[in-house]
């Protein structure tokens, strides 16, 4: 961590330089990685989505200290919303509505036009993204409201239940009205189209996206979109952290009774934390659905919630650069292992002794245990936790500036 620093308050020049270097690396990355196959870029695309999720969850868990084990539900809400409003699924929904109550079906057709009978609804990304954020925020408040008085273990249990409820809803909400198409999931979700350019590539282009005559693989195009969204998320969450609201969240985390006594309306501020966190999850979900072209309840299991929580805790709870690092490591590590363990065994022993899938899980778990044992505050915790008397800090800074 000595090379890169993001402590803009204390070392502005170094941290802006770090950001510039990192950005340059990130911009070049997909062109290098795609030389080794598009699957590597795809892995990083997913990692970027996980980073968005982890940053959203970090608001709830890291800043406000509210343990949320059902966070993936908001990802699911965003993804299914996109599935419903940007795929032929709405036609299936309408059909079931017509069977159920013809009057309601006619009303829907009158509202959205005749074409939804066959083609469903295909909203543009400009509607989907804000809508996914808003609806997820609403669900966040919905989860937050009954849990306001709960803390710690009890909150964890209720949020876990909430996550499962959403997943089970997705699994069963195909009858009598077919919202989610049940366990089969929703297929043929529109790829993202920005200013007329489809990020999946036009038909017959072999998934190559052309922007002004410059072609690149579809995964690279998505990479840049997700990178942009990640940067926006980092920007927004770090601004929130260093604001009146961010302080109120941390105050609630540190001592809720004292926070109340200092005039913080803990009910509103907690609900806001749930909503803000959820909205990032919702947007990430919308991106996920459009990227995959397919959503099913399987993608939103408890394991996923725990994986996102692990990114936050392992990276450095409440510390944005740490959370990003946790996201990169935990999202990319299993995939890298998947590609690496078999060839390594082949070259070491001449044959594959342990199946890649088994060994991968084993190493993944081992890595998590080792990190938590050796760095209980996370790989990259907030610097504020170190106890350094003011005089010593001043001296160090002077020495550092002398070196610079």
């Amino acid at each position: 961590m000595a090379l890169l620093t993001f402590d803009t308050a204390h070392k502005p020049r170094q941290s802006y330089a770090s950001m510039a270097i990192l950005l340059a690396v990130m911009l070049v990355f997909p062109f290098v990685a795609s030389q080794f196959g598009n699957s590597w870029v795809r892995i990083i695309d997913m990692a970027l989505l996980y980073i968005m999720l982890a940053l959203g969850l970090n608001i709830v868990v890291g800043f406000a200290g509210l343990l949320d084990l059902g966070y993936i539900a908001f990802f699911a809400v965003g993804a299914y919303l996109t599935g419903l409003l940007a795929s032929p699924q709405f036609a299936a929904l309408l059909e079931s509505v017509v069977n159920y109550s013809p009057a309601m079906g006619d009303a829907l057709v009158a509202l959205f036009g005749e074409s939804i009978r066959t083609e469903g609804i295909h909203l543009s990304v400009w509607f989907i993204v804000p809508l996914a954020g808003l609806v997820a925020a609403l669900f966040g408040a919905l989860l937050g409201a009954p849990t306001l008085k709960l803390r710690g273990d009890y909150l964890a249990i209720v949020t876990l239940g909430f996550g499962e409820i959403i997943r089970i809803f997705m699994n069963n909400l195909n009858d009598p009205i077919n919202f989610t198409n049940g366990p089969q999931g929703i297929n043929l979700i529109d790829p993202i189209r920005i200013f007329g350019v489809s990020l999946a590539g036009e038909a017959g282009s072999k998934a190559t996206v052309f922007i002004g005559g410059f072609g690149m693989p579809s995964v690279n195009a998505y990479y840049f979109l997700f990178l942009l969204l990640c940067i926006v998320t980092i920007f927004m969450t770090s601004r929130l952290q260093h604001s009146r609201l961010g302080r109120a969240w941390v105050a609630i985390r540190e001592d809720e009774i004292a926070a109340k006594a200092m005039g913080i309306n803990t009910r509103n501020v907690k609900l806001l934390a749930f909503s803000m966190g959820a909205s990032f999850g919702g947007v990430a979900g919308a991106m996920f659905a459009a990227f995959q072209g397919f959503v099913s309840p399987e993608s939103f299991s408890l394991t996923e919630s725990i994986a996102v929580l692990a990114m936050v805790v392992l990276g450095g709870i409440g510390h944005i650069p740490g959370v990003v690092m946790g996201g990169v490591l935990l999202a990319a590590l299993p995939e890298v292992l998947r590609h690496v363990v078999e060839p390594v065994q082949q070259s070491l022993f001449g044959k594959v002794l342990i199946e890649a899938e088994v060994l991968r899980q084993l190493l993944y778990g081992l890595a998590m245990v080792l990190i938590m044992l050796n760095r209980p505050a996370g790989l990259w915790p907030s610097p504020i936790k170190e106890d350094r008397p003011v005089a010593a800090t001043d001296k160090e800074e002077k020495e550092e500036s002398a070196v610079v």
Binding site: R247, D255, I257, M262, G263, N265, D387
Partner: protein, 255 residues
């Protein structure tokens, strides 16, 4: 007693079978340092928690600065103008001293999500004002040099001061201190006393719970004595010292 800041009467509070407070009343004039004493378990802290909205009273009428206020929620009480500290210090441990006081400004400021993210001119101005005021208050209580230190690493006496600075940041009309001198040595108590007088001179009324009778007698303008949840005496410190019921209940027992 014409210029009443706090006027509270007929407060009753029952915890199951225990009548913790019986018809307690208190009248504090503007600018006073008002003491509340009593033996352990007399109901002082319960009374404190009731007037600051942490506990819901069974009955009671509450008036601050001539206006009735409802102690239904702590944040509403803080907004109405009563700030408090806690018997067992409750700071935001992982935040710096400055940030702790900045949290105290929450109730008098208003920037929301939009201001936080966009940081337009008004939001930046408000943030700067919060920071400046917080530093000012840290200087006022005498720990300005520790602004960037993590709160839980401050010394005990400085943590007490920080808690007072944080309470002052809410711009209270009444500052309610729950045993601020607990665990302090003689020098620290003297310094605390000076600080309280300084706060009084700044125009803030103080309600004080304290065990240290000597400190209270010299410092307070008026004193109330609680025993078993009932008010047994009220008056000037000199009167309280002579009051037979008080001597029996508290001073007599203690010496």
């Amino acid at each position: 007693m014409n210029d009443l800041l706090l006027n509270i009467s007929s407060v009753n509070k029952r915890f199951g079978g225990l009548q913790a407070l019986t018809d307690v009343r208190i009248q504090i004039a503007r600018g006073q340092i008002y003491g509340l004493i009593g033996p352990n378990g007399a109901g002082k802290t319960t009374f404190f928690n009731v007037i600051t909205g942490l506990y819901q009273p069974d009955t009671g009428t509450f008036e601050l600065d001539g206006k009735p206020y409802s102690p239904s929620a702590p944040h509403a009480v803080a907004k109405a103008g009563i700030a408090r500290t806690f018997q067992n210090i409750r700071l935001f441990g992982e935040m710096t001293a400055l940030e702790n006081v900045m949290v105290g400004r929450h109730v008098r400021t208003r920037q929301g999500v939009f201001g936080a993210i966009v940081r337009h001119r008004a939001a930046r101005a408000e943030e700067a004002a919060i920071r400046a005021r917080a530093q000012e208050l840290l200087d006022f209580v005498g720990i300005g040099q520790f602004a960037q230190r993590t709160a839980r690493y401050l010394s005990y006496g400085d943590q007490r001061r920080l808690e007072i600075a944080r309470a002052l940041a809410t711009e209270p009309k009444l500052l309610a201190l729950d045993e601020p001198a607990a665990g302090m040595n003689a020098t620290e108590k003297l310094a605390l006393r000076e600080l309280l007088v300084k706060i009084q001179k700044a125009g803030i009324t103080i309600l004080l719970i304290e065990h240290d009778v000597k400190l209270m007698m010299g410092l307070c303008d008026r004193i109330s004595v609680l025993e078993y949840g009932k008010l047994i005496a009220e008056g000037l410190p000199a009167e309280i010292q002579k009051n037979q019921a008080v001597i029996e209940a508290y001073l007599g027992g203690a010496h």
